[in-house]
Amino acid sequence: MQIINEEKIFADKIDEEIKIEPKDWMPDQYRKTLIRQISQHAHSEIVGMLPEANWITRAPTLRRKATLIAKVQDEAGHGLYLYSAAETLNISRDEMLKQLHSGKAKYSSIFNYPTLTWADMGAIGWLVDGAAIMNQVPLCRCSYGPYARAMIRICKEESFHQRQGFEILLTLSKGSKAQKQMAQDAINRWWWPSIMMFGPNDDASPHSKQSMEWKIKRFSNDELRQKFIDVCAEQVKILGLVLPDEKLKWNEETKHYDFGEINWEEFRNVVNGNGPCNKERLEARVKAHEDGAWVRDAAAAYSEKRKSREQKAVA
């Protein structure tokens, strides 16, 4: 009887938009879904630092260098907020990192594409962060309290990232012929992977239905994707550049942009580890973690030593 009662309380809370908090009873599957989603999200932030950190040492001006560092640092912060939110569900950060490093946990596939030119910093900011924001804003209302609160903090900070990216592209688009080409080339490479970020089509999305019912997710993959495409199709005009989709066309009837077929074969391949940079990204994370092991050990050992010295001094 107890369980039934708890299930009902949980369901009522969801219905009434009352947040679920860490110590509340929740269905096992709800907890598991959240752990999977939040940790994947955290991993994406951390792995996502790499393609951009790539360009910190090559940023073309001091202002660009400083803002890029600040942005990548924000991503570290976001990863940290999210790991913290997941930790309220009784999983340690260490455990989550193990899952990432062993390849068991996934992260956003977009970060398995290489950053080849400076314009990629613009395209990532505009398109990848733009898509991420589109996905994340509804998560601020997610039914799980700690996740929703982390997302509010993240969204607040994220808005400068997209503006920074657009500004980079805008500057390039007004620059020399070579710069303009650089910007167009970056958009050509990042456009399709960005719209894949919203995940498979609704009819092929395995976890979506339950997540919507639990109010972890508020909009379907296809709804968000369409919204994103509509926005970008307009914004790209300001840049005087184009999106690489010949079928992209305003549809007066639907009041939306029609767009071409997404290459889901490529999507699956990259998710399954065959993207251009999967190996490099994961290796870089594992290396940082392993190279850092002695540092973490030393700090922990020192702290222990000091504690026992203090205790002796008191005794």
């Binding site: 110590k23 509340d24 913290s84 930790e87 260490d94 609160r149 900070e157």
Partner: protein
């Protein structure tokens, strides 16, 4: 040893003098001092705080949500604790 996380700390930040410290989130650190410094870097990158409290998470005791009715419901019939309980003339401003 490296397979274990540093201890988890809960971070509370006072964003402005005169306000309460508010829970901002958590992070890992080996001791209180490091936790404060990490909190400065992690949670006040945009000048959000003037004062930081840190508490190791294991020392936080939380109420059990199942008992919440006994803890919080009684307050519900003490409306006189809430300012709107008192009917005052509209002319009275800024109270």
């Amino acid at each position: 040893m490296s397979n274990h996380d540093w201890p988890l700390w809960e971070i509370f930040i006072r964003s402005k003098n005169g306000l309460d410290h508010k829970h901002a989130g958590s992070l890992h650190a080996t001791d209180a001092q490091m936790a404060i410094e990490n909190a400065r870097d992690v949670y006040t990158r945009r000048m959000e705080g003037v004062s930081i409290w840190v508490v190791e998470s294991k020392y936080i005791h939380a109420s059990n949500p199942d008992e919440s009715s006994s803890l919080y419901d009684p307050a519900n019939d003490k409306p006189y604790r809430h300012p709107t309980f008192y009917e005052l003339p509209d002319e009275l401003k800024n109270m």
